[in-house]
């Protein structure tokens, strides 16, 4: 099977289970509504009756800053709320990831919400454990990043013009993204093995390492190729969002629609990455050395 076939099959697998993206989008929407509710209600309360003529005294964004500055005590309490909220959200996301992997790996393309939740329950603890086991690898990730970015830092520090600084800074970011995709690929593969082969977490990580010893470069290449496609589509979507004016009700509706499409696309892309990796794993698992 060539690279394009892997990507094609991965995307097809994600498309067949598109309903998963919709479930996740809805859950995410509820969570976002909850997280943003205090701020949005404050803004509505303070600016709901604002007089905003054709030639306003200042742009609307500056009124938002006025509200922010005069309610700083609110925002310090809100930060506490947000922290607690995110802690709970992290646990929920592990559960949702378990459900997502469970349904993405099932041969039956028909997905129901009940099955999605059932998979979440089934794999939750092993997914949580896999996250904890991943922490030492995260430390290796940071160590590697520091090592690899050291020459860039040196180049940047010695530069007498701005270009090397900008280039080095962007190369560092690219390096971080590339490294992260490699490590994320590893974590996802371990989870695929957890779900597909019903292995214990440590064994799954060991199996993932064995698999990647022979297949890493090709799989990573495919991962990056798909990533490039995702970046391109995201860029186009973001550009459309930025160009859709929100000064009229129709423009606002269109920009909200595009923004939600972008969220759904991101969720679908996540599915496609899992699909690609799973297909590749199925095709090459005999080749573990």
């Amino acid at each position: 099977m060539n690279g394009c076939s892997y990507i094609g099959q991965g995307v097809r697998r994600a498309s067949a289970r598109f309903r998963l993206a919709v479930y996740l989008w809805l859950i995410l929407m509820v969570l976002a509504l909850l997280a943003a509710a205090p701020v949005n209600s404050l803004i509505r309360n303070q600016l709901g009756q604002l007089y905003f003529p054709v030639k306003p005294l200042q742009p609307f964004e500056l009124y938002l800053v006025d509200v922010f500055l005069t309610n700083q005590h609110f925002f310090s309490s809100f930060a506490g709320f947000l922290l607690s909220f995110l802690s709970l959200a992290v646990v929920l996301f592990v559960f949702l990831n378990a459900g997502l992997f469970g349904r993405m790996l099932t041969p039956d393309p028909v997905v129901t919400f009940r099955e999605f939740l059932a998979d979440g329950c089934r794999h939750f603890w092993r997914f949580l454990l896999s996250l904890l086991v991943f922490l030492p690898f995260l430390a290796i990730f940071f160590l590697l990043y520091r090592l690899l970015s050291a020459p860039l830092n040196l180049w940047s520090r010695q530069a007498v013009t701005e270009w090397p600084v900008i280039i080095a800074s962007n190369l560092r970011m690219l390096l971080a993204i590339l490294l992260w995709t490699a490590f994320k690929l590893f974590l996802d593969l371990a989870r695929i093995i957890i779900v597909h082969e019903r292995k214990k977490v440590i064994h799954a990580y060991a199996a993932a390492l064995r698999f990647l010893r022979r297949n890493f470069l090709k799989l990573w290449g495919l991962y990056l190729l798909l990533g490039l496609g995702v970046v391109l589509v995201s860029f186009l979507l973001l550009l459309s969002v930025s160009f859709s004016g929100s000064a009229t009700p129709a423009g606002l509706f269109f920009s909200i629609l595009l923004a939600q499409l972008f969220i759904i696309f991101r969720l679908f892309a996540r599915q496609a990455f899992i699909g690609l990796e799973y297909i590749y794993f199925l095709e090459n698992r005999g080749n573990q050395g």
Partner: protein
């Protein structure tokens, strides 16, 4: 580069110097002159200098000593006043340097003209509270005998200085140098009060006497140099590979210079006849009550030292400088010096955005957005300091608002006129993202008002620089709150009066050291009103000004009132009955509207300048009310055949010092789609953040 033949160029410089002498002829006789020879050793980042100071006692005091600023000792160790303040502000890492990066200045010898050694009688002092015995930025030199009134003393100083790697406003990186506050400089002697010579603080700038400078700077020939004043000679010594530049600066109070091999030097002329139309002269002359001839501007030679990497931005720099020379000149008075030098400072020298007499530093990036006014605002602002600090030389240690506040106000006026509103920059990793994320276009005064809001109740604007609560309070107060207060004052007094105030203040105190009281005196004199209350509320106290609409209630007036209505003691016994009858018989609906205004902040206006309330009803009728805000609240009631549509406190936006404009208006329709757009964007942001976190897990 503009091509001007050397002879023609010299002729123009001669004319410019001549007009400078005429224009500054009224200035008081100078009591100070400097002759300095300095050589830069780039390999070790060292300076070696010989300085001759001639100082005349123009006061009636007998002066026993002279106090010198030795600013670079602020970067000598971690116990200097500046280092201590930086540590307190958690900004210390910015000025921390390795052994080679520290800066210092050492006087090798200090003698009088007769050869008497004064160094044994010199000691470091700490004049500011709290005292810091470790600070070495002020040196007191006792004189053999007190200097009598009218007497002159000449001092010869040999000094060595190490350029700080990343000092405040000065520094070097590799072979790019920006050299400021580098030579022993006397403080300002104030009659009856002694020396005004403060330590180098984190949040303070400078104060010095006007003087004549002649400075010879020797640098390696591969470097391009620039400095305050005018270059009168350039001698290249091919044997040593060094070049000596000679500069003279008349009637200036500081001297800075720069040298880098990566500079390009470009010259252009500001030709007043091409920049200002007769109509513009006429209009401004009418506003100021002068003749067009009296406000005619001279030509000025503009010199730009720009890093090669920013070569494409040369015209952008000159355009901003032309606008600044034009408007500052028209509003406040002609630029009196023959040249102005604009420096795009050497990369990583920490010296951007700073002013010196006849020279200033800007600073830019290799990638620029078209609609973000950078570096334009910096250029206009730093040139403007030539007026507010350079010529009207207030004490920046003690009353920084007098230059920073007035100049921030002026910068905004120039950029608003020359460019209109600018967008805020959005950058990621040095790459502009304004094409993707559209920030609103804002005027300088709009942004200044917002920036100054959080510090309104923190410190008075008139506070000694090092006594502000923190750096943010210092900068937001002296730059933006002062500027916002001046915008308010302008709107209270009207454009014509205000323009005359500013011009009078500038021209009266040109080449002098005014104080806040002098400014207030001019305001009162020209406006013919006592505006001290304004300064008491907004400059001398830390009071928040926030007046707003507390509530707007409108309801249908009942057709009848229930209850017992008798004829007992009212002025008009029949009135109640009549009213009941009228109410019940009329067909037209009457609405009762009550609008409550509150003064949330402590600051209040003068009863002479009440706030206005504009109320617009659905039938198109408009009502105006005035409130002097002496009480904490007031309620206005209306009976109209229509509901209230909009209500706006201070609709003409006079009171820009109001720290919260979000509570100043009411509209039954609300802001409409903008509010929905804002809340939906917050929601989308939350979605994206949550999705990113979920993807990482």
């Amino acid at each position: 580069m503009e091509k001007i033949r050397p002879a023609v160029k010299s002729f123009f410089i001669f004319l410019a110097i001549l007009s400078f002498i005429i224009l500054t002829g009224r200035a008081q006789e100078r009591r100070l002159s400097y002759e300095i020879k300095v050589e830069l050793f780039p390999e070790t980042a060292m300076l070696h200098g010989q300085e001759t100071i001639v100082w005349t006692n123009t006061t009636g005091d007998y002066i026993p000593d002279i106090h010198f600023h030795l600013y670079w000792n602020a970067f000598k160790n971690e116990l200097s006043t500046l280092a201590r303040e930086a540590r307190r502000e958690k900004m210390f890492s910015r000025y921390r340097a390795g052994k080679d990066g520290r800066g210092w200045i050492k006087i090798n010898s200090l003698t009088t003209a007769t050869g008497k050694d004064l160094l044994p009688a010199a000691s470091f002092i700490s004049p500011d509270e709290p005292h810091n015995p470790h600070d070495q930025t002020v040196l007191r030199v006792a004189l053999p005998e007190p200097l009598a009134p009218g007497e002159t003393i000449a001092l010869n100083i040999d000094f060595q200085a190490k350029v700080p790697r990343n000092g405040l406003r000065t520094g070097y990186f590799k072979d790019g140098f920006f050299i400021a506050q580098w030579f022993p400089k006397p403080g300002v002697y104030e009659e009856g009060r002694g020396w005004n010579c403060h330590e180098y603080h984190l949040n303070s700038e400078f104060f010095a006497d006007f003087a004549d400078f002649r400075v010879e700077i020797t640098v390696p020939s591969r470097m391009v140099a620039g400095a305050c004043g005018q270059e009168i000679e350039k001698k290249e010594d091919t044997a040593s590979g060094k070049t000596t530049y000679t500069y003279v600066g008349k009637n200036i109070h500081d001297f800075a210079w720069t040298a880098s091999p990566r500079f390009i030097k470009v010259e252009r002329w500001f030709r007043a006849a091409e920049e200002v139309t007769p109509e513009e002269y006429q209009k401004m002359a009418e506003i100021l009550g002068l003749t067009p001839e009296e406000i005619k501007l001279p030509d000025v030679l503009m010199i730009l030292l720009i890093e090669k990497q920013h070569e494409k931005q040369i015209e952008r720099h000159f355009k901003a400088l032309r606008a600044a020379i034009k408007y500052y000149g028209l509003w406040y008075g002609p630029y009196p010096y023959p040249t102005v030098t604009m420096v795009d400072p050497p990369f990583r020298t920490g010296s951007g955005g700073m002013e010196y007499p006849t020279l200033f530093t800007a600073g830019t990036s290799v990638i620029l957005e078209k609609d973000v006014l950078s570096p334009e605002q910096v250029i206009v602002h730093e040139f403007g300091h030539g007026y507010w600090y350079g010529m009207v030389a207030n004490n920046e240690f003690e009353e920084a608002w007098l230059d920073e506040g007035i100049n921030t106000y002026s910068t905004g006026k120039v950029t608003d006129l020359a460019y209109g509103p600018g967008r805020l920059p959005v950058r990621f990793k040095g790459i502009p993202l304004n094409w993707l994320i559209k920030t609103p276009a804002v005027y300088d005064w709009q942004l200044g008002r917002i920036v100054s809001s959080p510090v309104a109740a923190l410190d008075p604007i008139v506070t000694e620089s090092w006594k502000f609560y923190n750096s943010m309070s210092y900068s937001a107060n002296v730059y933006y709150r002062a500027s916002t207060a001046l915008h308010t004052l302008e709107r209270l007094l009207g454009e014509k009066t205000w323009s005359r105030i500013m011009r009078t203040y500038h021209m009266r105190y040109r080449f002098r050291h005014p104080k806040t009281e002098d400014f207030i005196r001019v305001v009162n004199e020209i406006s013919g009103r006592d505006m001290r209350w304004f300064f008491e509320e907004f400059f001398f106290s830390a009071k928040d000004f926030d007046c707003g609409l507390a509530s707007v209630e409108t309801r249908l007036k009942p057709e009848r009132y229930n209850g017992i209505f008798d004829d007992l003691p009212t002025k008009n016994p029949g009135q109640v009955k009549q009213l009941q009858k009228k109410n019940s018989s009329r067909k037209e609906k009457i609405y009762e509207t009550a609008i409550t205004l509150r003064r949330y902040g402590q600051a209040k206006p003068s009863p002479e300048f009440p706030l206005k309330l504009k109320v617009e009803f659905e039938d198109g009728s408009v009502e105006w009310r005035e409130w002097d805000a002496q009480t904490r609240w007031v309620r206005f009631e209306f009976e109209k055949p229509a509901r209230v549509k909009t209500a706006c406190l201070d609709p003409e936006a006079v009171w820009l010092v109001d720290t919260n404009l979000a509570n100043n208006s009411y509209s039954s329709a609300g802001p409409g789609v903008r509010l929905a757009a804002a809340t939906s964007r917050i929601l989308q942001l939350a979605q994206n953040i949550l999705l990113t976190i979920s993807g990482l897990l």
